[in-house]
């Protein structure tokens, strides 16, 4: 007769895939809020994105409040 039992074990160590995924989120989010000057939307809108500065204007108040150089 066989019986199965569920036990909980603690496994230490951080998966590399999680570190890579979170590092990408970190870099992308930081760039969007802190440093974008039209770069991201220029992929779609070309040079006009550097004039419109849509993300810059949208994140303007947080840039100042969080200490990033804004303009």
């Amino acid at each position: 007769m066989s019986e199965s039992r569920q036990v909980t074990v603690s496994k230490k160590g951080v998966p590399i895939i999680a570190i890579v995924a979170l590092a990408i989120v970190f870099a992308a989010g930081l760039f969007v809020v802190g440093f974008d000057q039209g770069h991201i939307f220029s992929v779609v809108y070309g040079e006009q994105a550097y004039v419109d500065l849509y993300i810059h204007e949208l994140t303007h108040d947080m840039r100042h409040a969080a200490g990033f150089p804004c303009h």
Binding site: M1, Q6, K12, V14, P15, G34, T59, D61, P69, H71
Partner: protein, 244 residues
């Protein structure tokens, strides 16, 4: 460790702490931003670039409302971003941090990261409201700011690694080493090249609420991630043992 659960609680805690940061800023920072932008508007009227008309103010109010909503959205994005870094460092250093539960451990780590990645760089390159800052120097200022944060962060990491190799009584030397190194960097790195032309009571008040806002994020991220880690513990894995 359950990878997806770990990522989810890190992203959720970052986003929620960022939301708290954004809402805090909305309440305490926005009045200073409005005051500073008001000075910019007066300068525009004085130079003739804009006219003080009803149409201007209608457009301005609409634009500012949109920017204020962006404050909260940017808070969530920035919180998720910085929270991701915090989650990585917390997971890697959890067993080295003092504290009997995850909330206390997270608060200790948040304190260290607040000091080394935010407050010390802030002392060198403090936040400025609109009206302060020359557009021509923004790239230089961004590079200096990021460089200082990176140097401070890696110096703290290096001193932590050094402290692990030192005996208990000598661990304080790592802290002294960080303090000496970052003090030297503080002196050597160039200052913000822009002159502060806005009234100093506005600038000082803005800087104080800016620090309170960012600090609200670091406290929030520590408490939220610590609580979520206690509740869901991504390191626990259920295994089924079969035997006859």
């Amino acid at each position: 460790m359950r990878t997806s659960l770990f990522i989810i609680i890190v992203l959720a805690s970052g986003a929620f702490a960022g939301l708290i940061h954004g809402v805090t800023n909305l309440v305490i920072v926005e009045p200073y931003l409005d005051q500073a932008i008001g000075i910019e508007n007066q300068n525009l009227f004085a130079s003739g670039e804009e006219e003080d008309t009803l149409e201007f103010w209608i457009e301005y109010e609409g634009y500012r409302s949109w920017q204020k909503s962006g404050q909260v959205l940017a808070g969530v994005i920035l919180g998720t971003s910085i929270g991701s870094l915090f989650g990585i460092v917390f997971a890697l250093s959890k067993y080295s941090l003092p504290g009997r539960n995850n909330v206390k451990k997270a608060l200790v780590l948040a304190g260290i990261m607040w000091l080394t990645l935010y407050f010390i760089p802030f002392l060198k390159y403090p936040a400025n409201p609109p009206t302060v800052g020359d557009t021509d120097t923004v790239v230089l200022r961004a590079m200096l700011y990021v460089l200082f944060i990176a140097v401070s962060g890696f110096a703290a990491l290096g001193c932590y690694k050094l402290s692990k190799k030192l005996e208990n009584k000598k661990k304080i030397m790592a802290l002294v080493g960080y303090a000496a190194f970052i003090s030297a960097v503080f002196v050597v790195m160039p200052n913000n090249p822009d002159k502060v032309s806005a009234p100093m009571d506005l600038v000082d008040g803005f800087r104080i609420v800016s620090v309170i806002g960012v600090s609200s994020f670091w406290v929030s991220i520590a408490v939220i991630l610590g609580l979520l880690w206690n509740r869901f513990d991504p390191e626990k894995i259920a295994k089924t043992n079969s035997h006859s």
